[in-house]
């Protein structure tokens, strides 16, 4: 995938603003010099993995809260 195309794709995903600023700065630098290094690819991967991990924690907390609610509701019925 081309860098510009990737940047557009990334900016349409609901990343946190802070992470997106860092990702965009890496991509803008790569677009400007018309190449992306393995080191930059590694940074991009780690940043995306960080966001996936954060979303996973939130999703798991939502699951636990909803299970607690379900149990509470059953108790009251």
């Amino acid at each position: 995938m081309k860098l510009e195309q990737f940047k557009e794709k990334i900016n349409n995903i609901n990343f946190s603003k802070e992470t997106l600023v860092v990702i965009n700065s890496i991509l803008d630098r790569a677009i400007k010099k018309k190449e992306i290094t393995d080191e930059e690819k590694k940074d991009l991967s780690e940043l995306i993995k960080l966001e996936i991990e954060a979303a996973g924690i939130y999703a798991d907390s939502i699951k636990e809260f909803s299970q607690a609610l379900e149990n509470y509701k059953e108790e009251l019925n």
């Binding site: 794709k9 699951k63 607690a68 108790e75 009251l76």
Partner: protein, 153 residues
């Protein structure tokens, strides 16, 4: 994770007492008292459970602080805020019951249960929708992650 038995609360008994309150036209003061006691216990158990969930996931989110520090970002802050919001929504339900129990009126309480159950249903539905959105978001991010190795100028 503690289950009901481990917490020493018999919810089957709780359910049975609540059912009695709807089947019987007039409850004795003792029955009213038992219903309130059971509901207070269920509320305490729920409060402990959601507090434990909040603390557990906030600790997990805090572990991400170090991982983002290399780039000067803190992805944990946003997640912690969302977990706190979920906790307060749950806590609101408990407060609703406390107000009712202070009034000490079973009939008023039954009405409040209906209102609280509606809120609870909405909250539960909201959780499912939020979870679905997160899963879609994670899918998009995994797609992006798979593309990184194939990037070209």
């Amino acid at each position: 994770m503690a289950n009901n038995k481990e917490l020493g609360i018999d919810f089957n008994n709780t359910t049975s007492n609540i059912e009695k309150s709807t089947d019987t036209i007039e409850e004795t003061p003792e029955m009213k008292s038992n219903i309130i006691t059971d509901i207070i216990e269920a509320g305490k158990c729920f409060h402990e459970r959601i507090t434990s969930i909040k603390e557990d996931f906030i600790n997990k989110a805090n572990e991400l602080k170090n991982k983002g520090s290399e780039w000067g970002i803190d992805v944990s802050e946003q997640i912690i805020k969302k977990i706190e919001e979920s906790y307060h929504l749950n806590d609101m339900i408990i407060k609703e019951y406390k107000i009712t129990l202070l009034e000490n009126e079973i009939n008023a309480h039954n009405e409040k249960i209906k209102i609280a159950e509606k809120k609870l249903d909405e909250l539960y539905q909201n959780y499912h929708e939020t979870k679905k959105k997160i899963e879609e978001f994670q899918g998009d991010m995994n797609d992006a992650l798979a593309e990184v190795d194939h990037l070209s100028a």
